[in-house]
C-alpha cells in the first residue's frame, strides 16, 4: 500500500537524522522531491540536525594524522585526479596505538587496496591512457631524505619526501623547539647556485611536529635548510646560519 502524505511527513524527521531503513529512505526521498511542503520541512529539520555534531566535546587530534592525510593526497597531485579515482596512499609508518582487541591493527579501506591493484595493473600492463612517463612516476616510490638539527636544534629532525620531482615535496618536522615569540621557522631550498629560495614558514604544534607542503618545482634542489625568522611571514633571504640542514639529492 502506498503511504499517504501524513505518514510520509511523519518520517521526514527520522529521514533528517538518518534513522530510516534503506527502503523507507528511498520512499521518503522520492516523496520529498515531489512535495514542496515536505521539502521545506526537511530543510528546516536538516539545519537543526546539521548543528548537532558541532556541539561535540573536542578530542585532541593525533599529530601523525595530518601528515598521513596530506601525504596520501599529495600522492595524487593536481592533474592526476581522475573522476572517482581515490588518492594513492603512501606507505607511511603508523605508530602504535591501542585498539579494541576485536579490531584489526590497521585495515586500509577497501578503496585503498583497489588503488594499489590499479597502480600495479598500470605498471604491469603498460597500457591505457597513461603515458610512460606518468606510469613511471606513479610506480616509483617517493624519495625520502632525513635531515638532522645541530646546535640549538640538536635532536630536531625532518623528513623530506619528494612526491613529484617537478611539483611537490612534503617536509615533516619532528621534535622542533618552539620558535621564540614573534618568530617563525622558515624553510629554504638551495640549488646548485647556492642561493636559498624561501619555501614556506611554519610554527610547530605543541609536540614540535609540523608537515609543510612545498607545492613547487623541486628539480635541481640539492639541500634544504631551516632558519628562525620574523613572523608571521618570514623573510626573502635568511638572516642567520641554519641549524637544521641536509642534502636531498
Amino acid at each position: 500500500m502506498t503511504p499517504n502524505h501524513d505518514s510520509l511527513e511523519e518520517m521526514v524527521a527520522p529521514y533528517a537524522l538518518g534513522a530510516l531503513e534503506p527502503e523507507e529512505q528511498e520512499t521518503v526521498g522520492a516523496h520529498i522531491q515531489a512535495c514542496a511542503s515536505c521539502r521545506e520541512l526537511l530543510n528546516r529539520l536538516s539545519m537543526a540536525a546539521a548543528a548537532i555534531p558541532l556541539a561535540v566535546a573536542e578530542v585532541r587530534l593525533p599529530s601523525r594524522l595530518r601528515s598521513q592525510i596530506l601525504s596520501a593526497a599529495a600522492a595524487t597531485p593536481p592533474g592526476e585526479r581522475a573522476e572517482r579515482r581515490p588518492a594513492r596512499v603512501l606507505p607511511l609508518q603508523r605508530s602504535r596505538i591501542s585498539r579494541r582487541s576485536s579490531q584489526p591493527r590497521w585495515e586500509w579501506p577497501s578503496w585503498a587496496s583497489n588503488a594499489a591493484v590499479a597502480v600495479l595493473a598500470i605498471g604491469l600492463l603498460g597500457l591505457g591512457a597513461w603515458n610512460v612517463n606518468l606510469q613511471q612516476q606513479l610506480n616509483r616510490p617517493p624519495a625520502s631524505h632525513q635531515i638532522l638539527g645541530q646546535g640549538e636544534m640538536a635532536g630536531s629532525q625532518a623528513t623530506v619526501t619528494t612526491v613529484s620531482q617537478d611539483r611537490l615535496a612534503l617536509v615533516s618536522f619532528e621534535k622542533m623547539p618552539q620558535a621564540p615569540a614573534g618568530k617563525v621557522y622558515e624553510l629554504w631550498l638551495i640549488g646548485d647556485d647556492g642561493k636559498p629560495l624561501p619555501a614556506g614558514v611554519f610554527t610547530p604544534d605543541q609536540r614540535g611536529t609540523y608537515t609543510l607542503v612545498v607545492n613547487r618545482d623541486v628539480r635541481g634542489v640539492r639541500k634544504v635548510a631551516v632558519t628562525v625568522e620574523d613572523g608571521p611571514d618570514g623573510t626573502s633571504a635568511p638572516t642567520q646560519t641554519p641549524q637544521l640542514t641536509g642534502s636531498i639529492s
Binding site: 511523519e10 531503513e21 548537532i52 555534531p53 579501506p109
Partner: protein, 196 residues
C-alpha cells in the same frame, strides 16, 4: 525560503574550496587545520576508538580531496559536507556496513559563511556556537534528546529506538520531529540559523 546555517566567522571556506578544485594540496592542509579536530571529535563520539576514528577521518578527507573537482560551494558548506560524511562513515563502521551500502544524500540546503575575521576570532565564534548548541540540546526533554542521540550518534533506526525504549513507533517519530523543531527554533532565535 532559503535557510542558512551560519558556518564560520570568516568567508575563506570558499577560498579553500577553490584551492581544492584546483588540486592544490595547501587547500586540503587548511581544511584539515580548520576542521580536523571537529571531524575527529565526531568520529570519536560515535566510535569511541582512536584507531577507527583515524581511519574514518583520513578516509573522509581523501574522499573530499578526490571529489573536490565536483564540489559546488554554492550547494553547501565544506564543514557540513565533511562532518556529515564523518558521521555517516563512523556509523557505517559501528554497524559493520560497507560504504557503498549507504546512499549519500545531498546536502538539502544552501549554506553560507557569515562575516569576516581572523583565526582567533573564528575560534571564539566557534566556541560560542558549540556552547549554544550544547545548551539547546540540554534544554530538550530527556526522551527527545535520547531519541535524537540514539539515531545520530549510535545509528539506530526509528524502529530500533522504539523497540529499545519500548514505546510506539509514532511516539519516536514525534519526539524526533519535536526535538529538531525546538533545536531549529532555539538556534534561529540566537542568530545561529538564518532564514532568508
Amino acid at each position: 525560503m532559503a535557510i542558512r546555517l551560519r558556518q564560520d566567522a570568516d568567508d575563506s571556506d570558499g577560498a579553500i574550496a577553490e584551492a581544492l578544485q584546483r588540486g592544490d594540496v595547501a587547500g586540503l592542509e587548511r581544511l584539515y587545520d580548520r576542521y580536523g579536530t571537529l571531524a575527529y571529535s565526531v568520529a570519536m563520539r560515535v566510535l569511541g576508538d582512536h584507531g577507527r576514528s583515524e581511519d574514518v577521518v583520513q578516509e573522509c578527507f581523501l574522499k573530499l580531496w578526490n571529489s573536490s573537482s565536483r564540489f559546488d560551494i554554492n550547494r553547501g558548506s565544506l564543514r557540513t559536507w565533511l562532518i556529515t560524511a564523518v558521521r555517516n562513515r563512523s556509523i557505517d563502521h559501528l554497524r559493520g556496513r560497507a560504504a557503498h551500502e549507504r546512499q549519500e544524500r545531498e546536502i538539502p540546503f544552501d549554506a553560507e559563511a557569515a562575516g569576516e575575521g581572523s583565526n582567533p576570532w573564528r575560534e571564539v565564534v566557534q566556541g560560542m556556537e558549540r556552547e549554544l548548541i550544547q545548551e539547546a540540546l540540554e534544554r530538550l526533554p530527556q526522551e527527545q534528546r535520547q531519541a535524537v542521540e540514539l539515531a545520530f550518534y549510535h545509528g539506530y533506526t526509528q524502529k530500533e529506538i522504539a523497540e529499545s525504549v519500548n514505546v510506539p513507533l509514532s511516539t519516536i517519530k514525534g519526539r524526533m520531529r519535536l526535538a529538531l523543531e525546538k533545536l531549529h527554533s532555539y538556534l534561529q532565535g540566537r542568530g545561529l540559523i538564518d532564514d532568508a
